[in-house]
């Protein structure tokens, strides 16, 4: 009897099963940190004016979220109740400082570009929210997957917003990197090069300054929420 129970238990918990899959997929759509939980809006408005820094900060959040979850999960039975939040903050702050130091050493222009926003990952509600809600009650492996899922869910929205903001605000994509592309606007050699046509028909466009300002992110996130809910009816009236 005991033996059958044990085999059942191990069979029910594969390394990457249905539950783990759900932990990754859920934050991307049904339980997205930004569009459904409405967490982390501040940085989504602030850092999304260019695509490349947004990708960097998304990777940073995935990293911080995943490892903060693992560390907290490992310590979860030893953390004294009275300093629980302080310990979580120290874990997050340490990881963010690691990200900052690494960026400073390996990608200085990006570090300059993101400036205070790397430090502000510490205050990103998503990270602390996952530690408190998930990592304190789950095993390390699952917490790790949950962290990656939430980081990706956050990053996906960030990258979508940044794509539209950079395209309409500056007419470029990936500005500041070797593969920078000038897509629309008065001088767009990229279109010329890729399509091998005269791109003059695209040159009517002049950069939209609102897209550079954080206000544009608000509109784009609003539209994203609208689009998501019109496809995903179960999100309607969750409140």
């Amino acid at each position: 009897m005991a033996e059958t129970l044990e085999t059942k238990k191990t069979a029910a918990e594969p390394l990457f099963g249905k539950k783990e899959r759900k932990l990754i997929v859920d934050p991307l759509n049904d339980n997205n940190p930004i569009t459904v939980q409405v967490l982390g809006i501040c940085s989504a408005l602030a850092v999304t004016s260019l695509l490349y820094p947004s990708i960097v900060i998304s990777i940073a959040v995935v990293f911080v979220c995943a490892f903060a979850n693992v560390i907290t999960s490992l310590l979860r039975n030893n953390i004294p109740k009275s300093v629980r939040l302080i310990v979580q903050l120290v874990v997050i702050a340490t990881l963010v400082t690691v990200v900052e130091l690494v960026l400073k050493a390996f990608s200085y222009p990006v570090y300059k570009n993101l400036s205070v926003y790397i430090g502000l990952i510490i205050t990103n509600c998503i990270v602390m929210g996952r530690l408190e809600a998930f990592a304190m009650a789950n095993k390390p492996w699952r917490s790790f997957i949950d962290g990656i899922g939430n980081g990706l869910g956050y990053g996906a929205i960030l990258i979508i917003v940044a794509f539209f903001r950079e395209l309409f605000g500056k007419g470029t994509l990936f500005a500041g990197t070797p593969i920078a592309m000038n897509i629309i606007g008065p001088d767009s050699p990229a279109v010329d090069y890729w399509l091998n046509t005269n791109a003059e028909w695209l040159s009517w466009y002049s950069n939209n300054n609102i897209a550079v300002l954080p206000a544009a992110a608000m509109f784009i996130i609003g539209i994203l929420i609208w689009v998501q809910r019109s496809y995903n009816q179960k999100l309607v009236d969750v409140s």
Partner: protein, 246 residues
Amino acid sequence: MNENTKTLIFVAIMCVVVAALLAGLRGVTYETAIENEKIFNQRAILLALGDNLPTPVDALSDEEVQNIFQEQMKSSVAVDVEGEVIGDINPLEIRLDEERKKDLSERKFPLFVYENSGEKFYIISMRGNGLWDEIWGNMALESDVATVAGVSFDHAGETPGLGAEIKDNKNWVNQFSGRSVLSDYNGKYTGVIVRKGGAKDKKYEVDGLSGATVTADGVTDMIQQYMSYYEPTLQKLKADGKLGMK
């Protein structure tokens, strides 16, 4: 062991571990970070030269940037407010944010000289205040020591799309090329004025930035201020192309 002792021990261990970890990582990455910052600043100085550089700054590798400073810019010097050369100081090591706090007579100013096939460019560095935080920049002057060859600005915290345009808006930055910092009226270095509502005198003024009046005025003030600091130096360069040693 009671609950409080346990908590204290936990926190103490946590602090030591975290401090050791971060200190170690910083120690490992410190040298690279300093090197990166140096090259970042060197690129900003070269950016002021604009089209006068054979290859655009973005296309240069880190080694090429350093080579330019070692070969074509080796006659760069540090000057004081009297226009005298201060020996034994690498102009790249002057930090204007610290110099700003000193007494005017004790300040050091970098003067970068770029030589390319007989043509000389003089690059000066400036630092001032924008709307939210400090702004800074470099201005390259042609060999007549009056015509602006190009400028580059940067900022610590201006609003993207508004004040930050002083760095991001290349069309606006390019306006400075060809303007004169030397006034025909009194023979003094008065700088280039950022005029709200559009440049009136195309020789000395550039168009303002809509929505960024305070930052633009900050640029004007910064240029005017540093022109007065560099005035003796630039006058000497204009007169005979040489500077005296202190």
